[in-house]
Subunit: 224 residues, 2 copies
Amino acid sequence: MDGVRVIEIKKSVFADNDRDAEALRAELKQRGVYLLNLMSSPGSGKTTTLIRTINLLKDKIRIAVMEADIDSDVDAVKIREATGIPSIQLHTGGMCHLDAEMTRQGLDNIALADADLVVLENVGNLVCPAEFDTGAVCNAMILSVPEGDDKPLKYPLMFSVCDVVVINKMDVLPYFDFDLERCREYVRLRNPKARVIPVCAKTGEGVDAFAAWLLEEVRKWKEE
Amino acid sequence: MDGVRVIEIKKSVFADNDRDAEALRAELKQRGVYLLNLMSSPGSGKTTTLIRTINLLKDKIRIAVMEADIDSDVDAVKIREATGIPSIQLHTGGMCHLDAEMTRQGLDNIALADADLVVLENVGNLVCPAEFDTGAVCNAMILSVPEGDDKPLKYPLMFSVCDVVVINKMDVLPYFDFDLERCREYVRLRNPKARVIPVCAKTGEGVDAFAAWLLEEVRKWKEE
């Protein structure tokens, strides 16, 4: 276990998730905390991308991470070991997504007064997490090259709720039939204002662009 | 559309999915139809693997395919064009999985008297589909090398309900930190009797082993 806190998340009792999410967002606004909901398929490189991003930003803003997973705690341990920032593990007990109330249960275990940015790493799944507003200020997703450039066609809701699509594993582009421009077009079909940021989390290439965008977002949120 | 039938699946009204799944399996047994439930993450290569498998088997047994997807029909069209076998598209209307009643709605649109094997390509998702018995005779899943060898640790239920784990995209093994032996161990932790079959669907390498296993399974099911 190595000291990472594991929070067992309970199923929500609230019927109106959208209202609950709005309330959470308003509360976060008041407290000056930016909540980023990071989604992806299993194995797209969410945790590695997050570690790179945190290491670029942790001297500029105060960050905490909530790792949602069905029942392991490897990601929270990995994040803490690689970045030194506070990281907790949320166990969903088999549930395939987090809603606003479940997110709040996680946030209750974070010292929000000491955080400018909280990143929620959602369950690896392109379907269910897209259906539930977590109360986050922004939804971002990671699509990795090996998954294919057609994913915005097949998981339309996920791409329409995300304002940033990070394309990871750009280093293996030569080995896959993945066309970045075609992917950009498909993303635009779902969300014309979505930003597409190609990165290679393994080497760190391109992650600075994502980090710079996120830093700017957090600053705007705190100042507005 | 190009003539592929698209079936809009309705949400089930049955409360007891396990009982419903057992009833469906018994009915399929009586009719001599083997139903394979094929699951995976988005982008793992389910459709490509399936096309290769079907082309190896279609002269030996009669096959039909049900492609479940949230709302596209590209996979059913692709299967039919590449194999010539009957293929229908099931639209789940945003639902993240199929249960036994939803599977039955699909089967109602297939000429079962002309099929020895029906393959259900489930929604791309490692969480929810694992929770619902579809009534299939066997669950199989595809894990692709870029997703990482740790997936059995992170999605335990999926690996425990599958009797076959096909490891796809073996051609890109040199570019990823994926250890096949470690993966076999993790799979065994979840399901000691699971068979692990490494393949490269792109080139076809290894798919003959999966096809041979499936052919044997179908024959046993029909004779037993």
